[in-house]
Amino acid sequence: MTEKKFTIALAGNANVGKSVIFNLLTGLHQHIGNWPGKTIEKAEGTLHFKGYTIDIIDLPGIYSLSTFSIEELISREYIAVERPDLVINIVDASVLERNLFFTLQLLELETPMIVALNQMDMAKKKGMKIDTEKLGELLGVPVIPTVAISGVGIYDLLEKSVEIIEGRHKTEPVKAKYGKEIEEKVEKIARMVEKTQFKYPARWVAIKLLEGDEEVEKEILKINPKIVSAAEKLATEIEEIHGHSCSTVITSERYEAASKIAQEIQEITPQIKPPMRERIHALTTHKIFGYPIMAVSVLSIFYFIFTFGDFTSSFLGDSLFGLKPIFEGMFGTGVVGKLVWGGVMEGIIGGVTVALPYILPFYFMLYFLEDSGYLSRIAFLMDNFMHKIGLHGKAFIPMMLGFGCNVPGCLGCRIMETERERLLAAFVVTLVPCAATTVIILGLVGAFVSIQWALALYIIDLLIIFFLGRLAFKALPGEPTALVMEMSDYRVPHLKTVLKQTWFRLMEFVKMAFPLIIIGSLVIKMIEILNLLEPIANILSPVTVTWLGLPAITGITLIFGVLRKELTLIMLATLLGTTNFAQVMTPVQMIVFTLVAMLYIPCIATIAALAKEFGWKKAYFITVFEILLALLLGGIAFRLLSI
């Protein structure tokens, strides 16, 4: 029996319904991870169809195959090197020109391909009539009209895919023709490249060399430097004729080709009345009204999440802690019992009471807003503000998530374009006071000092973010950041896709964070069992007592806080034997303690997220930096406030 297995990659612009199609195809058989060594999410899934096992790879949403972003690099490497059996190019029928620009580039990679002409309903709403068959003729590949959100055309898409892979349907992809001067030069270089047996198609390499693509240049230099210098010479010739850089000329001509195809196949009847989605867009990006609308939306989302989270968290906590007698019955109350319950189980409970009540709704809201199109409007409104800390508008979104929990905040930094922006944004996110930090601020300073001081701490934190963000922005070398973002039409999110996206991201978090949380809580339990807590508190006392002016016992609570920040407060109550902190700590001590707890370390789950996204070295660096920062500021605050 032969193995009937093959691979299909989904490629297309962002916001074309790619994830909806991915979710329709793969259902619950998904695996979310990262591309090896990259901060880019890799979504994979499997599907069984007509006796075949099909692996589906969801490539990142991109606009080109140049090297502007890591996503683009990953996508073209994948298509050219891994050689999927078929690429399904998902095209937004309502924004044909720009989508076809990408299609033409995919065709240049000479990979077996099929086009899913998606959002046909939206195109119709916009008054567009599209000749699908003609498009197929012009591109030389099959074109299947689809409306992913209602599942229309998906079966046809699969059937056609199988036909092509089985070889029953022969395709003859058309290649975009450039102007005469460029075609001549492309051919000249392509002939030289052909002899090198390079992994990419010769014509594609020739075009990229003319465009001055860094990555391709680097690799060809290793094989035959003569080709690169020849290409450079020819590119200069083009530049002299056109008065623009060669890359600009090629992009221009490719767009012309896309535009010509679009004009040939679509008929547009202009609409008289601006539709609802346009009016919502105008209102939500309005110079004045846009901001209050945003504030109300964001705050009500937070309110919803925290109300839901608080309730669910305590409910889950209570029921899970109810299991304690059962565990004690099974494992006893000796060392083993303590380790099983206090280490493993309390770790799991800690994870569960954060993951389900807070992270789940956070992800849900994130994907809901993203799918609807509102996130890009928020980025538009906040761009100017975010520039003040060296980031651009999109970074507001992970930051906003960070206020709930730093973990999705760090993972949310994936929406930034470059590795540098991702790292910068993640660094800023780890300084954002999360829900647990808010519990400490309000529960200690807010309740026992004054609400003004609690607010002041918040403001101090934001100022720190502002200054450190700027500093990191100046310190890290690289391209300047700027917002270049599509604001796709508003639409009703596809609930099933949003739910699946939420669920699989949650699972990813669980896999990543739970082992660390459990190990962490086991280690701390061991220290407790070995009666090392007090010696450690004593070792730390030069820092805690002398430098920060805190009671020695706080050294222990700060260690526990690594697991979950709110544990600092809970442990403080346990160890001091009272919840009336005013009896055991002075107001200054409470303020200093909160300030330190707020900044001193990202919790263990956040460290795990950082390590996963940026590697252990950077995670370690950020952690150590923040500990030192917290101690420095805490000490200064203690001295200032004691005057």
């Binding site: 090297t67 020109e97 450079e232 530049e239 623009h244 600009t248 409104l381 391209e479």
Partner: protein
């Protein structure tokens, strides 16, 4: 006349003449200048020379521009928009 994209009034259209990779450098410099990647990005999004672009509005406090180009709506940071030159009939 030739203007920067940021100098256009709300609702005004122009034809793109060039995008400067960074202030003061000419088009001739290949991959030189700090904004090269962003220039490429803009072109990949459809803002190539000769294309008609319409400024819909800009966000307040010198925020980004909302532009309409090739049937899609884009947000472009102000710093980047200042490097886009357009020919306008006034």
């Amino acid at each position: 006349m030739e203007l920067r994209l940021t100098e256009l009034r709300d609702g005004e259209s122009g034809i793109i003449t060039s995008i400067k990779a960074s202030q003061g450098r000419s088009w001739r410099s290949r991959r030189v200048g700090r904004g090269w990647g962003l220039k490429k990005r803009l072109e990949d999004m459809g803002l190539t020379p000769g294309t008609k672009v319409t400024v819909v509005k800009s966000a307040p406090f010198r925020g980004p521009l909302e532009v309409y180009v090739r049937g899609s709506r884009l947000a472009i940071g102000r710093g980047m928009a200042e490097r886009i030159f357009v020919e306008v009939k006034r």
